[in-house]
C-alpha cells in the first residue's frame, strides 16, 4: 500500500519529540504508568478478597475446594506459554524478522483463545453446579452464604481478568494485522513492545489469582 509507507514515515518520529530515543523511552514509560493503574484496579479486588478471607476463613477453604483444579492449572501453563511466545514476538521484531513475529503473535493468539475456551468450560461447570451467585445459588456444605461470597469474588476477579484477556486478543490481533501490513521494523516497534507488556501483565495477574482461588483449599480433596 502506498499510504502505509507514508504512515511508516510519520510513525517513526512524531513531530514533538526530539529524537527516537526520547520517543521510545516515553512510550514504554507511558505503558508502565498505565500498567500500574491496572495494578491498582485489580488491587481493589484483591483487597476485597483479603478482607473476606480474613473474616470468613472456613468458607474460603470450602469455596476453593469447588474450583476446577485441573482447568486452573492448565490455564496457568497456557498463559505462561503465551507469555513466552509474546516475548519471542517482541524479540523477533527487534531483530527485524517480521515473518517470525507474525508467527509468534499468531501462536500467542491461539493460547489466549484456548485460555478463554477453558475458562468458558469452567464457568459452564459452575453454572451446572448452581455455583453462580444469585437466586439460583445452592451450596450444601458449611456456611453457604459466605461461600457464595467466595464465588462472587471468584467471578468478579476472573471475569475482569478474562475481560483483559479479551482486550489482549484485540490488541495482539491489531499488532498482527499491522505487522502484516509492514508497519513495524527493527527500528520502529514500540506498539508491539507495549502490547507485549500488557500481555505479560495479564499473565502476572493470573499468576496470583491461581493460588488464591484454586490452591488455598485444595489439599482437602487431594
Amino acid at each position: 500500500m502506498s499510504d502505509s509507507s507514508e504512515a511508516l514515515a510519520t510513525h517513526e518520529l512524531r513531530h514533538h519529540f526530539e529524537n527516537m530515543e526520547q520517543q521510545s523511552g516515553a512510550s514504554s514509560m507511558g505503558m508502565w504508568v498505565f500498567l500500574i493503574t491496572e495494578i491498582m484496579f485489580f488491587g481493589g479486588m484483591f483487597m476485597a478478597y483479603l478482607a473476606y478471607r480474613y473474616e470468613y476463613f472456613t468458607a474460603w477453604q470450602e469455596g476453593s475446594q469447588h474450583m476446577d483444579f485441573w482447568i486452573g492449572t492448565v490455564n496457568t501453563a497456557v498463559l505462561i506459554c503465551s507469555s513466552l511466545t509474546m516475548a519471542m514476538a517482541v524479540l523477533a521484531i527487534q531483530q527485524g524478522r517480521r515473518r517470525l513475529t507474525s508467527i509468534m503473535l499468531t501462536i500467542t493468539l491461539c493460547f489466549a483463545i484456548a485460555f478463554l475456551v477453558l475458562k468458558g468450560i469452567e464457568y459452564h461447570g459452575h453454572w451446572l453446579a448452581h455455583e453462580f451467585p444469585g437466586p439460583s445459588f445452592h451450596f450444601a456444605g458449611i456456611d453457604p452464604r459466605h461461600v457464595e461470597m467466595f464465588f462472587v469474588l471468584y467471578f468478579v476477579m476472573t471475569g475482569f481478568h478474562a475481560l483483559h484477556v479479551l482486550i489482549g486478543i484485540g490488541l495482539v490481533s491489531t499488532m498482527l494485522y499491522m505487522n502484516e501490513r509492514g508497519h513495524f521494523s527493527a527500528d520502529y516497534h514500540n506498539p508491539i513492545e507495549n502490547v507485549g507488556l500488557y500481555w505479560h501483565f495479564v499473565d502476572l495477574v493470573w499468576i496470583y489469582l491461581y493460588p488464591l482461588l484454586y490452591l488455598i483449599g485444595h489439599h482437602h480433596v487431594g
Binding site: 470468613y56 476463613f57 472456613t58 468458607a59 456444605g141 458449611i142 456456611d143 453457604p144 452464604r145 459466605h146
Partner: protein, 330 residues
C-alpha cells in the same frame, strides 16, 4: 442558647464537656493562627506595596525558618491528635455495668427496645446519671444515630451491631437525628431523646405497656424456634450449653478463639457455619430470614441473661415449627 440562633448545642452528657474543651482549644488555636497569617499578609501587603523606585529584595529562603515552621506545627498537631484520641477512646469504651438498650434503625425510623420490655419509636427515654449503652443495628441501609446534645454519633450498620454509650447529665428533651444519608426521608428520620429524673423514669417504665422483659421475649422465641432442642442446660445437647457463654472466649474448631459478644451470637444464629464451636458439628440451621432484627435482639438479650445459674434454657421443649415467627420484613 438563643432559640432562633443557637451558637452552642446543649450540654447534656458526660462526653459533652471534654469535646467542648477540645473544640474551644481548636477554635482559639485556629483563630490565632488564621489571624496571625491574615495580619502578616496585611502588614506585608501594606508595607511592601508597590512604590516607585522601591525594588524587591531577593531572598532565597531560610533553613532555620523552614524547620521552625514545620516542627512547631507538628508538635501542636501531635497534641491535637493525642487529645482527640483520648476522648475518642473513652467514648468507645462503655463501662461494664451499663444499662443496655437496643436500637434498630430502618428507613426511616428508629425503633427502641428496653430490657424491661418497653418499646418506643423515634423516642428514647433514659434516666439521668446512669451509664447507658446502646446496641444498634439496621434493618436495611446505613443510618447514623446522632445526638448533638451528647456530642455522640455512631453509624448503624446492616448485618452487624455497633454500640454507643453515654451518661446523661441533665434532664430535658434533645434532638435525635439520622446523620447518614439513607434515602428519601433521611431528614425525616429524627426523634427525641428524653432524659428523665430517676423518679420520672421509674414512673415512665411502669406506665408503659411492656409485654414482659426483652429477655423473656427472647426466651419465648427460643422455645418457639426450637433452639432448646439442641441447646440444653446440661451437656447432653447436640449444641453447646449456652449458659454463661456470653462474654467469654469461645474456642473454634479451626483453633481460633473469639469472644462471644453480640456480633458473635448474631452470626451464630444467622450463619452458624461461619464459626463453629470446637467439639460440635455444623448441624445448626441458619435462621436468616426467619427472625427479624428485633427478634434477633431479643434472642441476644436472652442469651446474655443466661449468666451462671440464673434462668436455664428451657430444655425439654419440643421443636416447634418456625411458622410462628414473623418472616423477616424487607
Amino acid at each position: 442558647m438563643f432559640d432562633n440562633f443557637p451558637l452552642w448545642p446543649a450540654i447534656a452528657s458526660n462526653h459533652a464537656l471534654p469535646v467542648d474543651l477540645l473544640y474551644i482549644f481548636l477554635v482559639v488555636l485556629s483563630a490565632v493562627m488564621t489571624l496571625a497569617i491574615f495580619a502578616t499578609i496585611a502588614v506585608f501587603g501594606l508595607k511592601y506595596r508597590r512604590r516607585h523606585g522601591r525594588e524587591a529584595h531577593q531572598i532565597e529562603g531560610s533553613l532555620i525558618l523552614e524547620i521552625t515552621w514545620s516542627v512547631i506545627p507538628l508538635g501542636i498537631f501531635m497534641v491535637l491528635f493525642g487529645w482527640g484520641a483520648v476522648i475518642y477512646f473513652h467514648e468507645r469504651t462503655p463501662p461494664r455495668d451499663s444499662t443496655e438498650i437496643y436500637v434498630v434503625g430502618k428507613q426511616w425510623m428508629w425503633k427502641v427496645q428496653h430490657q424491661e420490655g418497653q418499646r418506643e419509636i423515634n423516642e428514647l427515654h433514659v434516666p439521668v446519671d446512669r451509664d447507658i449503652k446502646l446496641i444498634m443495628t439496621s434493618q436495611d441501609v446505613i443510618h447514623s444515630f446522632f445526638v448533638p446534645a451528647f456530642r455522640l454519633k455512631q453509624d448503624v450498620l446492616p448485618g452487624r451491631y455497633t454500640t454507643l454509650w453515654f451518661h446523661a447529665i441533665r434532664p430535658g428533651t434533645y434532638h435525635l437525628f439520622c446523620a447518614e444519608y439513607c434515602g428519601t426521608q433521611h431528614s425525616g428520620m429524627i426523634g427525641s431523646i428524653i432524659v428523665l429524673n430517676p423518679a420520672d423514669y421509674e414512673a415512665w417504665l411502669s406506665g408503659g405497656g411492656g409485654e414482659g422483659s426483652l429477655a423473656s421475649t427472647g426466651q419465648k422465641l427460643f422455645q418457639q424456634l426450637g433452639c432448646g432442642s439442641c441447646h440444653r442446660s446440661d451437656t447432653q445437647g447436640r449444641g453447646p450449653n449456652l449458659v454463661g457463654v456470653f462474654g467469654k472466649p469461645v474456642l473454634l474448631d479451626d483453633g481460633r478463639t473469639v469472644t462471644a459478644d453480640e456480633n458473635y451470637v448474631r452470626e451464630s444464629i444467622l450463619n452458624p457455619g461461619a464459626k463453629i464451636a470446637a467439639g460440635f458439628k455444623n448441624i445448626m440451621p441458619s435462621f436468616q430470614g426467619v427472625v427479624n432484627e428485633e427478634q434477633l435482639l431479643s434472642l441476644v438479650a436472652y442469651i446474655k441473661s443466661l449468666q451462671g445459674s440464673a434462668g436455664a434454657p428451657a430444655s425439654n421443649q419440643a421443636a416447634a415449627p418456625n411458622t410462628s415467627a414473623k418472616p423477616r420484613v424487607k
